[in-house]
């Protein structure tokens, strides 16, 4: 069954894969987004994620429906979890699991989901840097905007 969630605890990737696994599928694809230690040549020490939660869940459900509609005949089964709150280097920020009887639709749907998620799901991240500063990040150009100080 399809599944979409925003979570504050570490994502249980094995449990997410189990959600889409069944004897009827021949392919299970996963994508994990993780917190990287550098962005735009700045040393990143952590990331803080926040969301417009109601809308983010709605957009993720819409993306799942679109990914299913892109496939003829049997729709893929899709599970997405995005983590919110303070994350450390290497932590999984987003996990996507997709299953299908065949690999090509599963791979295509997984790619579709992560690309659309990054474009339109209202989730924001503020990077924390080694020099003690923080900045909001924009996915369109991945350039950090300096924090407004009042």
């Amino acid at each position: 069954m399809n599944h979409v969630a925003l979570v504050t605890e570490p994502i249980d990737v094995a449990a997410l894969l189990a959600r889409v696994s069944s004897p009827t599928v021949g392919a299970v694809v996963s994508f994990l987004g993780t917190v990287r230690n550098v962005n735009n040549n700045r040393v990143v020490t952590g990331i803080e994620y926040s969301a417009y939660e109601e809308m983010a869940q709605r957009e993720m459900r819409a993306i799942v429906a679109e990914a299913a509609a892109n496939v003829e005949n049997v729709p893929p089964t899709i599970a997405i979890e995005h983590r919110l709150g303070e994350l450390s280097l290497g932590d999984v920020s987003v996990a996507i699991a997709v299953s299908h009887p065949h690999r090509a639709p599963a791979l295509d749907a997984c790619r579709y989901v992560i690309e659309e998620l990054k474009k339109r799901v209202p989730i924001w991240k503020r990077e924390h840097y080694a020099d003690g500063t923080r900045a909001w990040v924009d996915n369109r150009n991945s350039v950090a905007m300096p924090e407004v100080i009042h």
């Binding site: 969301a51 417009y52 920020s93 996915n139």
Partner: protein, 80 residues
């Protein structure tokens, strides 16, 4: 009519609040709600053409608002 405004992330920091209850004239559109926010101190921290959602769905500037609608300004997203 009363509508709720919600601000997030960099926009909440710029304006200094996460939510506002505002009065707009009947027949007001998303454009009018945006103009209200643009007149607030700190609005120079908004994008030139910010994305807007009404009741948790992206909406165009000419969308008519109804009393009780929740209008959200959506900063550039950064999920993933």
């Amino acid at each position: 009519m009363r509508v709720g405004l919600r601000l997030f992330a960099s926009y909440a920091d710029a304006i200094g609040t996460r939510s506002l209850d505002v009065t707009l004239s009947d027949g007001a559109t998303v454009r009018d709600a945006l103009a209200y926010v643009r007149a607030l101190p700190g609005a120079d921290g908004l994008a030139p053409a910010p994305l807007i959602a009404v009741n948790a769905e992206y909406a165009p500037l000419d969308r008519r608002l109804s009393a009780g609608d929740e209008v959200a300004l959506i900063p550039p997203v950064a999920g993933g």
